[in-house]
């Protein structure tokens, strides 16, 4: 009887330890996270389309009224990332995520000059370098400083009804993730 009790107590304590260990390790070890799924669809800096349906999209966007595009970046590999897109979507917003998928920074078309997406992502070292001599291409950009060189940029565009499809498609097709 005491033996069964010991087994039970040890088992429950062990289960608690395993529970915490899995919880903490899951974000670190997950091979199905957003980065990994986007990596299977496109190279670094290659824009990938995101859709609300789970089947067609590597990373499902929650809202059925939204279409999106995203690209992965690694600032140590290719330098400062410059994300641009045309105008036209009735509403767009952009988020910068880190390697784990945590949202670091976001803004929408009201914040951007002239409603055009012009975003530069850099590490603090690269930003210091840029401040010394700002390239013309980045003169009007919104700068985002990140600690970790790897991450994901996601642009979401509102599609109120199917008649907006061509406009939104053109907007998403114009997303470019370039190295400076």
């Amino acid at each position: 009887m005491t033996r069964a009790f010991h087994i039970l107590v040890l088992g429950v304590v062990g289960a608690a330890i395993v529970h915490i260990a899995i919880l903490m390790l899951l974000p670190v070890l997950s091979e199905r996270d957003a980065w990994a799924r986007l990596a299977s669809q496109g190279d670094l800096r290659q824009p990938v389309r995101l859709e609300p349906s789970v089947e067609g999209s590597p990373v499902p966007l929650a809202d059925p009224f939204f279409l999106g595009g995203g690209c992965r970046f690694d600032l140590h590999q290719h330098g400062v990332l410059h994300v641009t897109a045309g105008a036209g979507a009735p509403f767009w917003s952009v988020s910068v995520y880190d390697r784990r998928g945590y949202n670091l920074y976001s803004f929408n078309d009201r914040t951007a000059a002239g409603g055009r997406l012009d975003l530069a992502v850099a590490t603090s070292a690269q930003l210091t370098e840029l401040r010394r001599e700002l390239p013309d291409a980045l003169a009007r950009s919104i700068f985002v400083e990140v600690d970790n060189p790897q991450g994901i940029v996601v642009v979401r565009a509102f599609r109120p009804d199917p008649t907006f499809e061509p406009v939104v498609e053109r907007f998403l097709g114009s997303i470019a993730c370039e190295a400076v």
Binding site: R3, H6, I7, L8, L10, G11, V12, V13, G14, A15, A16, I17, V18, H19, A21, I22, L23, M24, L26, P27, S30, R32, D33, A34, A36, R37, P52, V54, P58, V59, P60, L61, A62, D63, P64, F65, G70, F91, S93, S95, Y97, D98, R100, G101, Y102, N103, L104, Y105, S106, F107, N108, R110, T111, I152, V154, R156, F158, P160, D161
Partner: protein, 193 residues
């Protein structure tokens, strides 16, 4: 000797099996800890930020979610009506009230995995603020029902339970939300098939 080995084996099975199963259940069932609850609606403003709780972090790395940022919007989810009954796809609901200031919002029914319900033919999978007719005092009334309905109709259908997801986009008032100040619509059940 044999008893010792079997006891140790049993402890390991309990620990590993129990630990793994409890994480699985927790990530599937528990909503999260730092939620903002307003009536039947719940939102997670910190979800997907580095300050989120470990369960939210584990969940969205497993599900490859890329949550909305603070400047983008905030999603509220309702799994029950204002009386506390779970939302059923076979039932009709009246969604009535006002919303905090936002540039626009969308409302759609989703399944337990937070996927939008498949659209019925020729219907759009939800409603958004530009389609909705309002009363003179800016409040609105939406009927979520499997059967067509005059006025603002949110088409549902099928069997089982559902969630309603209300996402407010570009809502600066929700940047640092306080549950006491956020006003969201109420959900009344009006009948079932």
């Amino acid at each position: 000797m044999m008893r010792l080995v079997s006891s140790v084996g049993l402890v390991f099975i309990l620990a590993i099996g129990g630990g793994a199963a409890s994480v699985h259940v927790a990530l599937d069932r528990l909503a999260g800890f730092d939620g903002l609850t307003v009536g039947p609606w719940i939102a997670f403003p910190n979800r997907g930020t580095p300050g989120a709780d470990p369960y939210s972090k584990a969940r969205f790395s497993r599900n490859a979610e890329l949550p909305l940022g603070k400047a983008e919007g905030l999603a509220f989810l309702a799994a029950a009506d204002s009386a506390g009954e779970p939302l059923r796809r076979a039932c009709s609901y009246r969604i009535e009230g006002r919303l905090p200031a936002a540039r626009f919002w969308t409302l759609y029914p989703s399944d337990a995995q937070a996927r939008p319900l498949p659209a019925q033919k020729l219907r759009w999978p939800g409603l958004h603020s530009m389609q909705v007719l309002r009363r003179a005092d800016n409040s609105f009334e939406i009927v979520a029902s499997p059967a067509p309905h005059p006025g603002n109709w949110l088409s549902t259908g099928g069997a089982g339970t559902m969630n309603l997801v209300l996402t407010l986009y570009d809502a600066p008032a929700l940047g640092n939300p306080d549950a006491a100040e956020v006003e969201l619509p109420l959900i009344y059940r009006t009948g079932c098939e």
